[in-house]
Symmetry: C2
DNA sequence: GCCATTCCGTGACAATCATCACGGGTGCCC
DNA sequence: GGGCACCCGTGATGATTGTCACGGAATGGC
């Protein structure tokens, strides 16, 4: 457990404690990289908008007491599928990929988590093993709460327990949604269309177009829809040819939402 | 709202209130069939073993006060995907199929629920729409708790809220497990093998064999693993030919678990 | 016992898509 | 700047499996 100011390549940052994540090379996580550090949940930009942070000031303070903050570089691993749950990670910034994979190396990505989400919640609450692996895809800061502390906090704090239940409900909801895209489609094209539309649902529509950021490689998209890298490449090219969408780097513009919808309808 | 003793084809039964399920013909559920009626959760056989029922006597009584019990025949529908959540159904006996389906009629079954499980929990807690459809496949009795009552109860009852969170976690866990069978398999055979092994996990192994009850049609199995009825038929025949298993009516015997496992491993 | 419906078995066929293979592009690090 | 990863594009190929079609078995209601 480390506490104090630490030197970084770019800047200093304060690390209250350091929860052991795992670097890509298998070593423990020890070198948080420079990020915008959120020291205090009361001033966290997500406090108002996000489910779990939006609690009475009193409660947030109680949470802070058992929380340890850490930053993780791209490629770091917060936890691994099958590991006994140590506790929850509240994602303050950055993005984290949640996935599961089979013995032969095939990977299925379930979700790209955004700030405000609580990772490892189901396993921590039920006291089982993490069912997914959490990899940082965009440098992240997260608050860790150990399982025992967390459960104790919930016991003393009915409202927080309810929030946890709600967050779990939403997580489940999202899982079912992905399930639908994977399980109910007749073709890879349908899966991709479903995926794009779901993704676009978080972005505003203007003039019949939707601009969205999609910082995923074709490989990763394939892993989200249960397909192969090559088919994703081909399908995207196909969609572009048919004027359904347009790609500029990591931004994607849906030009014909109706057509995509008609693909999923069948 | 009905209260009192009601005549049934076979026997009398007591119905405290009647929560509106929907019969296969679309009419509301009004004619509960003869079942072993569980009048009192304190004497419910699942009380000790199941998560949600296993609460202090005091708490269970508080629950009873807001609970209404009803019985449903095979084919009845407890709730439908997309419907605003009215509340939760605690399954006391019977079995219920949870599924989602696409516009063109393709169906994906997520789970066959057993007594003790709480149905409609995620949607009720988050205040959204039911994400699945619940159909009775084996005559069922369930306790209904309306959303507002339920949320109020949880607020006054920290421990129950925690239990709810745990139940949600388990539900999520199960969803992820099915996700894996559907999303990580290379072939339908692999999916079927995965499915059978998961199903068998609830049954004891003796002398290298596992006897299990599988009251599902090939069609339903297909809908669980995201495949077609014909391939399930063919694959089961194939497995039988290869001496991996043996089918006698609705009981299935896994004779070579190792071989099945080697199929999923790849 | 008869009719109707559901369920299971099986053949033929076509389409989709995973896989392999390879090359070109881009960025990153030394 | 040279090499090394990684990512994207594309062709050829073959296995898998969804789909259609049909008949027989089984089940259940009257």
């Amino acid at each position: 457990m480390l506490t104090g100011w630490r030197r970084n390549p770019n800047r200093f940052q304060f690390v209250t404690k350091l929860e052991g994540g795992i670097l890509p090379d298998g070593t423990n996580m020890r070198t948080p990289y420079g990020l915008e550090i959120i020291e205090n949940c009361l001033s966290c930009p997500h406090r108002e908008e996000r489910l779990f942070c939006n609690l009475p000031e009193q409660t947030v303070k109680a949470l802070s007491a058992i929380t340890s903050s850490a930053s993780y570089p791209k490629g770091a691993t917060l936890f691994v599928e099958g590991q006994p749950a140590r506790g929850v990670f509240i994602l303050c910034s950055g993005r984290v990929k949640l996935s599961t994979s089979s013995a032969d190396g095939k990977t299925l990505i379930l979700r790209i988590s955004e700030p405000g989400e609580v990772l490892g919640l189901p396993a921590t609450v039920t006291g089982t093993c993490y069912e997914l692996t959490a990899d940082v895809v965009e440098p992240a800061q997260s608050n860790f709460i150990a399982r025992n502390d967390f459960l104790g906090f919930l016991k003393d704090n009915g409202e927080a327990a309810l929030r946890v239940a709600q967050q779990l409900g939403e997580t489940y909801h999202a899982a079912i949604a992905e399930m639908r895209t994977i399980g109910l489609s007749h073709s890879a094209g349908e899966k991709l269309a479903r995926f794009l539309l779901e993704w676009a649902a978080n972005y505003p529509e203007e003039k019949g177009q939707i601009r969205l950021k999609l910082t995923l490689t074709h490989e990763e998209i394939a892993q989200m829809i249960g397909s192969s890298r090559e088919t994703v490449t081909r399908l995207l090219a196909d969609f572009r040819r048919k004027q359904l969408l347009q790609v500029m780097g990591s931004t994607l513009i849906i030009k014909n939402k109706a057509a995509l919808e008609s693909i999923v309808t069948g």
